[in-house]
């Protein structure tokens, strides 16, 4: 017997047992089963295995996850919102760019102060914005995960 055809017969028998529309007609399945002992055995074994799951139910869990969810929702609400304006960041970029240009000018002798100036400005900038540049925004991650 053709192995692929036998599998289609077995899948059809399974679908009929499940009360679904089988890919092959019941007459075709019955006709094949009359002459194929392997398929008869396979279908019978599958029927026995399925009987082990029929009438079973899932275990019921009484855990209440709402308190944790409510806490997480409150924490999300309390989180400071992203700055609506990009203007402060544009100013910062312009400053850093200007600083770099001044630093590479051959007429300027780069001292320690001029090298530390960007760091000082960055600290001041994020302090004024009340933002932690190293904080991972979990909100963005969660939204990206939903397909």
């Amino acid at each position: 017997m053709n192995k692929e055809y036998c599998e289609r017969i077995r899948i059809s028998a399974m679908a009929s047992r499940d009360g679904e529309s089988p890919p092959l007609s019941e007459q075709e399945v019955s006709k094949h089963l009359e002459s194929c002992a392997d398929c008869r055995l396979e279908i019978d074994q599958q029927r026995q295995a399925m009987a082990l799951l029929d009438g079973r139910s899932r275990r019921v869990f009484a855990q209440d996850v709402w308190p944790e969810i409510a806490t997480a929702m409150e924490a999300t609400k309390a989180r400071p919102k992203q700055p609506a304006s990009v203007a402060p960041f544009v100013v910062l970029c312009l400053f850093l760019l200007t600083h770099k240009i001044i630093e590479v000018l051959p007429s300027v002798t780069a001292g320690v102060m001029i090298k530390l100036a960007p760091v000082a400005v960055l600290v001041l900038f994020f302090s004024l914005l009340k933002q932690n540049p190293f904080h991972i925004n979990e909100n963005l991650k969660l939204q990206g995960d939903i397909k």
Binding site: M14, A51, R56, R58, R59, F61, V65, I69, M73
Partner: protein
């Protein structure tokens, strides 16, 4: 409060309305997450994350559809992500929890723990499919919707999952029999 009313209220910013949805579906969701993940601790984490994701995306939910199948899609994504990261971190040593409810029934002479163990030995995808079909009684079309695959694929995947389940039952049974013989 019915689901669509609760969802409308959530959209209006009433977080308390979301508690109705959580409490209505959490038990079902924990059972489903446990089936995929195999341990309760991870299942609870996945359920919490899925509800939070659902709350944040509730504005996009189509109220003409049922809430739970939508939540299930979010939940199974979470579970499979968690499963993938767990595989990367090697095996987790969490306590194993039974999937099936205890019954007085002893099916065809096969003990209940054998059936539960055989289920747990299967790949998460097979276990999910078999339990949705046999424990939740979903039709092929409903399975296709839940899993996001065509009904024809459901049919063939179910056939091979059942075949593997049968092999696992025999394997677990043989292992237990050999342990019993060794004890004697």
């Amino acid at each position: 409060m019915d689901d669509s009313t609760a969802i409308q209220k959530c959209r209006a910013g009433e977080t308390e309305a979301f508690s109705h949805l959580v409490r209505r579906y959490q038990s079902e969701a924990i059972g489903h997450a446990l089936t995929i993940l195999g341990n309760l601790e991870d299942a609870l984490d996945a359920v919490q994350d899925a509800f939070l994701d659902a709350y944040q995306a509730v504005g996009k939910f189509d109220v003409s559809r049922r809430f739970y199948p939508w939540l299930y899609t979010i939940l199974r994504n979470r579970c499979f992500e968690m499963l993938a990261s767990r595989r990367k971190q090697a095996a987790a040593g969490a306590e194993v929890v039974e999937i099936l409810a205890r019954t007085a029934k002893d099916s065809c002479g096969v003990a209940e723990n054998v059936v539960d163990r055989a289920l747990r030995e299967l790949a998460a995808e097979d276990r999910e499919l078999l339990t949705l079909k046999h424990l939740d009684g979903l039709s092929y079309d409903e399975l296709a919707e839940r899993l996001g695959i065509p009904a024809g694929t459901v049919m063939s995947r179910l056939y091979y999952a059942r075949k593997r389940f049968r092999e696992k039952v025999l394997m677990v049974q043989e292992t237990l029999d050999s342990w019993e013989k060794n004890d004697e």
